[in-house]
Structure formats: structure tokens, C-alpha cells
Symmetry: C2
Subunit: 224 residues, 2 copies
Amino acid sequence: MRYHRIPDETVRRLPVYLRGLMISADQGHEHISSQFLADFVGVQSSQIRKDFSYFGDFGTRGVGYSIEKLVREIKKILRLDASRQAALVGVGDLGSALLAYPGFESYGLDIVAAFDIDAEKIGRTINGIRIEDLPGIDDLGRRGITLAIVAVPSAAAQSTVDRLAGAGIRGILNFAPCKVVAPPRVKIITLDIAMELARLPYYMPAGGSSERPMAGDSPQQGIS
Amino acid sequence: MRYHRIPDETVRRLPVYLRGLMISADQGHEHISSQFLADFVGVQSSQIRKDFSYFGDFGTRGVGYSIEKLVREIKKILRLDASRQAALVGVGDLGSALLAYPGFESYGLDIVAAFDIDAEKIGRTINGIRIEDLPGIDDLGRRGITLAIVAVPSAAAQSTVDRLAGAGIRGILNFAPCKVVAPPRVKIITLDIAMELARLPYYMPAGGSSERPMAGDSPQQGIS
DNA sequence: TTTAGTTTGTGAATGCGAACACAAGCACGA
DNA sequence: TCGTGCTTGTGTTCGCATTCACAAACTAAA
């Protein structure tokens, strides 16, 4: 194996592999072939082998990959080897749903703080998390929290991001459907739910027959 | 202008442009330059011009693009020119939040039906939508609904998709973090929230200095 | 009419990611 | 020990998306 920079597209697929591998491990498997994993997660087997080749030799020809080794290495690369604490800003409908969302756990991600501007909500508890007032955000750095989820209205998104960046937050998952900027040390991923739905009708030709490309979902998003 | 197939990546950006253009129109602008729109939505101006060149000449050199024409054409391409009705399956925390989500409206998307398996929930009303029993799904085709959002647990996702496909649904936005398949006439986009968050720590190097690429967010997802 | 300043539209170059194809390596049984 | 079957790892090819760079086209003012 030679040294390789890990392409961004590979990084995007690593959590998909991780989930599939953890499920396989739960089912008692110790090894898995690229072909088997490919069918399971919906990626080409050659793609998987190429992806894995960027960061080490975990496979044995004729046998497959050691699931345990792979899981450990992928977690290390994604920096998910230690569990991570996240804060949520904006406890509206979506924010509340995220507080209760069970999916973060398997990645070792944990929402441990929530903030809202609404005095009505402050002090209330959702899923064991007490909702705090906005100034509490400024303490996040001291509390060792480096990850944040923004679920506030678009108009408040940029100021929220500014405040989070000032508090030492290093990664932000933004649900507000607008452009937000931050210093380069802060990584922002924006996830616009309505936009994804708006993209869908394009692939649904009016007539019964297909006049539009019906290719499988694009590889970046979704594993349909 | 010559005929061009519209690349998938361009289709992915069209809703972003559309949102930016509608906001500009609300602010009273009639024309917009590729450079101005670029700064607004976070895409290179050359990228925007290339994208627009795939489907017509809407610009005037020295002036910019006619916002009204562009909006109309993008809506036509995305098939958002007529308003579209969508159904939601799975009225848990996330599903409830989606029922109340205000962001769909500006794209002419409208959730008009909701389904859940829980007898406790059936008959209750959220945001004016009465929650129906699962068998109601089979009637969606007759009701003229072609779009669906799946917010059920992973274990129920595939069977839900099968039922929706059987009812004549043509596009599905899936929030369950698993691979789901459907006949080629049905387009599926999967949106895995936890996965996006799990991708974030990779870009957050432990040390103060950056040892990992801190490039802007990848162009596909997010407009950071 | 001419000139200066913009901005589009697009051919060409670049870069990157996906897919292919196959040699190298391992397990297992005869 | 040898042969068969399977699977990885990777050099190479292919295709597509992004960026560059500039001529063409428009406005406005002198």
C-alpha cells in the first residue's frame, strides 16, 4: 500500500460503509467481501476496494476484509473513535425531533446541550436535555463541545453560526436553507431538506414512459 | 444556444439558484448578473453561466439575466411549475416536524396526507393534516399524489417503499438510514441525517493548526 | 459615432472520480 | 504439493464536472 490522500467522495462514503460493517458485525460476521458489502450498501465493489486501498490493507485475498479492523480504522479516520458531544441551537419542531433522533448514537455522537431564544422554552427538558438561554452558547468551548447543529430560521442562521464560531465550535451541521459563512477553521455542512424534495419531480416524467434519465440515484447523496 | 442534456450536478444546483432568484425578485430586482448570484448562493460565476447555458439564453451581455424568465424556466425544468402534492409516511418526531416544516411551500410543494401504523395517532390532526391508517396509502395514486416522504424506522422502510411504489408514487424522499430499492420508474433520494453529522469530525483536526484539507464544502452538498 | 466598461456564452484545458480488467495472493481439498 | 476457485489491490481507461480565458454583445455616456 502506498500513501494516498483520501478523496472527499470517499470520505462521504465512509459513514455508509461504517454503518453496513457495524450491522454485519452485529450479525456475527468476522469477514466481509467487497462484493457482499457492495450489495448491502449500494456501491460498486470496485469502488469499495479502491476506497479502502486509500488507507491501508485490511483485506486478505480469497477471504475478504476483517470487519473489526475496518470499523476501527474508519472510525479513526472520521475521528469517531472517541465519542463526541454536540450542541443543538434552535429547539423548534425540527430541533426537537433531532434531540430525540436515535440515529446519532451508533456513530458515537451525542447531543448534550440545547439552546433557544424563546423564553417560553428555556428550562424545559426534552429527552433529558435542558433547554438553555442563548448566552450559554459562549461557554460551549469550555464545556469541551466542538460540534453543533443549527436548526434556527434562515434569518437567524448567520448570527448563530457567528456565535458558535466565536465559542470555539469547529463543525456545524446547518439545516437553515441559506448560505452561511464562517472562518476556515470551522467546517460547515448545510442540509436543505426542501431542496432535496424539490429535486425529485425532475426525475418524474409526466408520461408513463421515461423521457428523463432514470439512472440510479447519484452516488454522492443517497444510496438508493 | 445548442441543445444540451442537463447534467445531474446542474440539476442538483437548480433549486439553489431558484431560491436565490426568488429572494432577489422579492427584493425588487429584475436582472441579476452571474457574479452577483454567485456570491449570493456560494457557487462560482463561471459555473452558473455554464449551468444556465445548458437550457437557453436568458442573459443579456452587459446587463445580466432576467430573473423572471429564469425562475419560470427553472421551475419548468424541475417540473415545479404546477404545484405538487406529497404524502408523508411515519408521523414520529421527525415526521411531525416535516408536517410543520415551512420550507416546502416556496417550491410549490405541499404535504397533503400523512400515514402512520400507530392506532394511537390515527385520526389526530397535525397542521391541518389528519393522520390516516396505512391502507390509505394504496389510494394515493387515485388522489393524484405522486410524491412521498418516508420517515419510518429502518426496519419498515423497504416495505413502506414497496407499498408506495405499488400505489403509483413516482418520487420518494427517504429519511431512513438504510438502502431501499424500487422499480426504475420510482426515483428515490435518501437523506441520512446522522451520516452528515458523522462526516463532520473528519474536517476538524485535533490540533489548533489544520492538518486536514479545509477546502470549502464540497459543491454537491451544502453551500457553506 | 465612438469609446469605455460590463457581462454573457462557450471552446479548451484541467482535474477528479468511477469503472474496468487483471495480476497477485490466499484457502482448501485432492 | 498442486490445482481450483475466490478475492484483493491497483494500473489504466474513460467520462464527466469544474475552471479558465476570451471573443462577442450589450449599455451608457461623451
